[in-house]
Symmetry: C2
Subunit: 203 residues, 2 copies
């Protein structure tokens, strides 16, 4: 039998159970303290099935916190039409994720795990910036695209922290439409504000 990494045909229920247990345990205990044995126990499966379906613990983490949307399509939706209306589209798209039941759990679990382990922090950074906001800013052809993308990322990550981790009472109960309207000019601002004293970084 060939062991393949990543989801494979068959056993979708089992894989979903493992991913649910992984998301919950990584979020509750952090990357390091959530053992594959405990995740398997919570999912009610043999620990060897995790290796069979997903590979290593890091592989499982990546799979558990995969964004529940296609990033290529997301970049196209947000940046495709150009700078005109950009802030509104990013606000709509990001609040869609942050207010969605499953997607918000993914985001908050990712940030929570990132606080406890550098590997998780790197995965969170790649998900939010490298795969989403940086391609968006680059596509729009602005100067300092990486810094602009990261500044937008701080506001989005900060909302996750405020709503789901610090549980700020008003941010935890505010309607999506209010946040989306408030963010529209903020994202346009981060896209266009002069950053001339910022030294471009080669990283």
């Amino acid at each position: 039998m060939t062991l393949r990494r990543g989801p494979r045909g068959g056993g979708e229920d089992t894989q979903a159970k493992i991913l649910d247990a992984a998301r919950a345990l990584f979020a509750a205990r952090g990357f390091e303290d959530a053992s594959l044995r405990a995740i398997a126990a919570d999912a009610g499966v043999d620990p060897r099935l995790i290796a069979h379906y997903f590979g290593t613990k890091a592989d499982l983490f990546v799979a558990a916190f995969r964004f529940p949307f296609d990033t290529t399509a997301a970049v196209e939706y947000v940046a495709g039409p150009g700078a005109e209306g950009f802030g509104g589209r990013l606000a709509e798209f990001s609040t869609g994720i942050l207010f969605g039941e499953e997607s918000s759990r993914t985001m908050s679990g990712l940030i929570r795990a990132a606080a406890s382990h550098p590997d998780a922090a790197q995965i969170a950074r790649e998900r939010l910036v490298s795969q989403l906001l940086l391609p968006v800013a680059t596509r729009l052809g602005v100067s300092h695209a990486p810094l602009r993308a990261e500044l937008m990322g701080t506001q989005i990550a900060g909302f996750v922290v405020g709503r789901y981790i610090l549980q700020m009472p008003h941010v935890a109960t505010v309607q999506r439409s209010v946040v989306s309207a408030a963010w529209k000019p903020v994202f346009d601002h981060y896209l266009t504000v002069p950053l001339d004293c910022a030294v471009p970084q080669e990283l």
Copy 2:
């Protein structure tokens, strides 16, 4: 001998050692997993000295992550002169904290610990919102002061996450002046943007 809670006269060096060890260990392991015994070991003191100087573990956490500034003076500086120039003053004040060596450690340790324990999350929320941003917004007499304060708090907390936890490369190396200039209109915006569809919360 009377056991007093909170710092007391004498033993300032010992207290400073305990607080340094507590900040480091709470940030690395989270509130729950950082034991008083381990903190005492790292500080090179008898565990009973922690109880003697600070009281319970929660008391020690509060003392370790006390803001290194006087909140009353901070509220006066940011909100005292009124809404005119508010964004610039909050941007200057908050970047002063977020780029300061000791104060940024306090903030990032606080957010990191908050991700692992609800008690720490509550303390972080109180520090950032209840004691600082809410009094500022209230003093300025705006509608929806709690929601506005929290929205500002999400941007500030998000910067801590981006710079110190996710370690976004450009946000981690950007100059303070660039962030301060970029934030000025953002804070003014959160202070004044219409939020009429937001239901005022009684909490």
